[in-house]
């Protein structure tokens, strides 16, 4: 027995030594950014967190402040289409964070909002303005949306991050926190050596990709996206892809629509502000998609329900549907993203910074025509 205990002690001691060594290296290579500042979560690749879901889950502690905050949530088109630095430069009264997450559905957007709430007090929550970017592709049930072979069916990227390091555990009623949210930063500090090793592993994979394919990742750069033009074959493939992804031949998930309404209602009841952005897609996709009409119906219904509520507004940019302004069937090119960002910044400025945040608004689709800023491309 004593030999087993001795060997256990030696192993743990050696492990602790290595752990400290790598932890030290992680602070040198990736020092903690200044706390309490806005963060561009889309720049996750340049941080120790590597991916947006991981950055949002582990790095959200920065949102624990009483300062007015604008928090963008949605899918990748929210992440790509709204440039945090551009919006921030035009918005002096709040700190802007873009938490748009690739492949998010409404359930995952709700999870991101819950994660933000977890690290905030009730009082601090009232300084939140959630900008929720939506389009029909987000109204897919999780069981359909998250069915890859390398994940447990129905688990979102946020779920994966919750369970990855044991901060949460699976229960029949969903994820249950193991580590209290107030210990999040301590937990992240503890994880640093492993995050650094993971980062190195991912960098190695990028290196291998460079050797094999001549490029680091399959993701296109801004410059490549800017010159991309979709062929007819690619458009057909994209329509097929969305038909397969949506799980129905037509119509969006009613459950996801209901969930969005509940999420907005909950936010408004807790004194937070909500901006719904109806994200445009290229005209060819909008016109060919069998999901657009049910999405429009749902949106109209939603705006009727919340349009008169204080602290709620909406933005539509449906004039920005130029086919050549999109790098694919969903994502805005850089020049269009700048227009999106300016339009959102103007709406936010008027909504948050012009000393009339509680004004009543009659929000309808007709009244959501573009504000003065930004030009159509």
């Amino acid at each position: 027995m004593r030999y087993i205990l001795r060997q256990t002690a030696l192993t743990l001691l050696s492990f602790f030594f290595l752990y400290l060594l790598v932890a030290g290296a992680s602070f040198i290579v990736f020092p903690n950014p200044p706390s309490n500042g806005p963060r561009d979560f889309q720049a996750a690749d340049n941080t120790i967190y590597m991916t947006v879901p991981k950055y949002v889950f582990l790095g959200r502690g920065v949102l624990d402040s009483s300062d007015p905050k604008v928090i963008l949530v949605g899918a990748s088109n929210t992440g790509v289409g709204f440039r945090q630095n551009l919006i921030q430069s035009r918005l002096s009264c709040a700190k802007v964070s873009n938490l748009g997450m690739g492949g998010a559905n409404i359930s995952e957007v709700g999870q991101v909002i819950d994660l933000v709430h977890e690290v905030q007090s009730d009082d601090d929550r009232r300084s939140n303005t959630f900008v929720i970017g939506i389009w029909f592709g987000m109204f897919v049930d999780s069981e359909l949306k998250y069915a890859d072979a390398d994940r447990n069916r129905g688990e979102t990227d946020i779920d994966i991050e919750r369970y990855r390091y044991g901060f949460y555990r699976r229960t029949p009623n969903g994820p249950a926190a193991v580590l209290p949210p107030k210990w999040l930063d301590a937990g992240v500090t503890f994880l640093r050596p492993f995050l650094l090793i993971e980062k190195l592993a991912r960098q190695a994979r990028t290196g291998i990709n460079w050797l094999v394919t001549g490029r680091g990742s399959a993701q296109r750069t801004d410059a490549e996206r800017e010159i991309a033009v979709m062929s007819e074959e690619e458009k057909h493939k994209a329509l097929d892809y969305w038909e397969e992804s949506m799980g129905h031949k037509s119509g969006i998930s009613a459950a996801q629509v209901e969930l969005l309404k509940q999420t907005i209602d909950k936010l408004l009841l807790s004194g937070e502000k909500v901006v719904i952005v109806d994200l445009p897609i290229p005209a060819w996709h909008r016109d060919a998609s069998p999901y657009e009409s049910s999405y429009r119906e749902a949106l109209k219904d939603l705006l009727q329900q919340f349009g008169n509520r204080p602290n709620f507004t909406a933005l539509s940019m449906d004039d920005l549907d130029g086919n050549l302004d999109y790098s694919d069937e969903v994502h805005a090119k850089r020049h269009l993203a700048e227009v999106w960002s300016i339009r959102l910044a103007n709406v936010l400025d008027s909504f948050l910074c012009q000393d009339k945040p509680e004004k009543q608004r009659q929000v309808t689709l007709q009244s959501l025509k573009p504000a003065s800023a930004g030009s159509k491309n």
Binding site: R6, Q7, T11, L18, Y19, N152, F194, A201
Partner: protein
């Protein structure tokens, strides 16, 4: 209980500490028995889920008890039929759908390995190889040993009983370090290498199973790569599991048998199976191949036929071994492929011996070209046959084979064989020429470097495991 979960490590630490608290034999057996109960219970959400397993164990024990009293061949045959029928019923083989099934969910993990242990005890009791009476608790500890419960190895009762609760070879610092290293190496194989291979395999698997339109050459290349990755995954997953349980076993005084012996260095299909899943191969050799061959020889006593009866016995043995792996028709194909591989190999040996004679055949089989050619052929064939373990739906397998065509399958076989032969050649060339200088060996074997290496493995396991979205699982648990 997932063997990578913190709960398992806590359970393991508690079991090891409890085992070593006292040297009393009855106490230690109590600890091992309790550990088995806790381990199995971790798979249950309701006690009723364990009832079929309990019934299976009771049936097995009843058969064994009767055989102790009456060593009649008829009782043995009836017992084997009863145990096999109950096993087939519980495993819900697709060919026996008509048998129906129990109307509630129940635990089926471990049943295959329990079956092998029960049959072995029954046969050995009947033959007189096992004289000592087995108590019900000893029977439970043996059949449900938590270390071997999920995926083996299949240990003989006689070997298990020698170490049941005993510590024949006292532990010393070196043995404990070896056990820790074995466990850590097992987890590296399982959680790092196998998990990475599985991750890439799942990525490549999709266009193959979803019938995505691909040019023939690309389809063939993707198929060969996916099949190779599955083999790597299977080997490192299973052999990693073996390292883990053998390492843990040595801390609990148990000497579990090895299950792998460098299978990829095999020079023939038959040799491959002497090195891969060895305890399963040996079980089939003792309890199916040998009795079957004896039976065939008694039916056809002409000496000239003996070799050919051996081929038939090989075919049947490997067919059954293949079918054991799963419950659908695809596993019959797998069994047929295994049987064909073994029979052709045996036929080749007989033909070579007849044509070349012993001396020239030995010279041929020792030539480097022959060795690497045979290795390539063996592994290429095995890798292709394993497709049945990852394309388990008959319609999917049919579709894949049609899309590949004869040219595609042959192309993949030649590609796999050639690549493996080359890799094997290069690996042998390098390993024969690289040896650590003596000065470095001294540093490497020093207490600090040894323990830092161990800790480094642990760190790699934690880091890589957290990279993947799903906790890895043991592949043979499903068989």
């Amino acid at each position: 209980m997932n063997l990578t979960s913190p709960l398992f490590f806590a359970f393991l630490a508690a079991t090891i500490v409890a085992f070593h608290i006292s040297e009393s034999l009855s106490y230690r057996r109590f600890v091992l028995g309790t550990a088995n109960v806790i381990f199995i219970s971790s798979y249950l959400t309701d006690f009723t889920q364990a009832l079929p397993l309990l019934a299976f164990l009771l049936l097995g024990y009843a058969c064994v008890s009767i055989l102790y009293v009456r060593k009649s061949p008829a009782i043995l045959a009836s017992g084997i039929v009863a145990v096999l029928a109950f096993y087939i019923f519980l495993k819900r083989f697709s060919f026996f759908e008509a048998l129906g099934h129990l109307p509630f969910p129940y635990l089926s993990i471990g049943l295959s390995y329990i079956l092998f242990r029960i049959l072995h005890v029954m046969i050995d009791v009947r033959s007189g190889d096992l004289v000592e009476r087995i108590s019900p608790l000893a029977f439970f500890r043996y059949t449900c040993n938590f270390l071997c419960f999920v995926s083996g190895p299949i240990q003989r009762y006689q070997d298990y009983n020698v170490t049941d609760g005993k510590e024949l070879v006292p532990l010393d610092p070196s043995k404990v370090y070896e056990a820790f290293t074995r466990i850590a190496t097992g987890y590296v194989k399982f959680a790092v290498i196998a998990a990475t291979a599985q991750y890439i395999f799942l990525y490549l698997n999709q266009p193959l199973l979803q019938a995505t339109a691909l040019p023939p050459a690309k389809l063939c290349l993707i198929y060969a790569t996916a099949a190779s990755l599955y083999t790597i995954y299977l080997y490192f997953n299973f052999s990693g599991y073996m390292d883990i349980v053998i390492g843990i076993g040595s801390l609990l005084g148990q000497s579990l048998p090895e299950n792998f012996d460098k299978p990829f260095s095999a020079r023939s299909f038959l040799e491959f199976w002497q090195r891969w899943h060895m305890t399963l191969s040996q079980w089939f050799k003792f309890y199916l191949f040998n009795p079957l061959l004896m039976f065939l020889m008694s039916c056809f006593p002409a000496p000239a036929l003996t070799s050919y009866l051996g081929i038939l016995a090989f075919f049947i043995t490997f067919l059954v071994m293949g079918v054991w792996h799963g419950t659908t028709a695809v596993f019959v194909i797998y069994g047929l492929l295994m049987g064909a591989g073994a029979s052709i190999n045996k036929l080749w040996q007989i033909a070579c011996l007849e044509r070349l004679g012993k001396k020239r055949y030995r010279a041929l089989s020792q030539s480097a070209i022959y060795i690497y050619f045979a290795r390539g052929l063996t592994i290429g064939y095995f890798v292709l046959a394993l497709t049945c373990l990852w394309v388990t739906e008959p319609s999917q397998l049919n579709s894949l084979v049609i899309r590949l065509g004869v040219t595609g399958v042959l192309g993949a076989f030649i590609l796999l064989g050639a690549v493996f032969a080359m890799v094997s050649l290069v690996t042998d060339f390098i390993s024969e020429r690289i040896a650590a200088p003596i000065s470095l060996s001294a540093i490497r074997d020093g207490i600090i470097v040894r323990n830092l290496t161990l800790a480094g493995k642990m760190m790699a396991i934690f880091a890589v495991t957290s990279l993947f979205h799903k906790a890895p699982d043991f592949v043979y648990k499903a068989f």
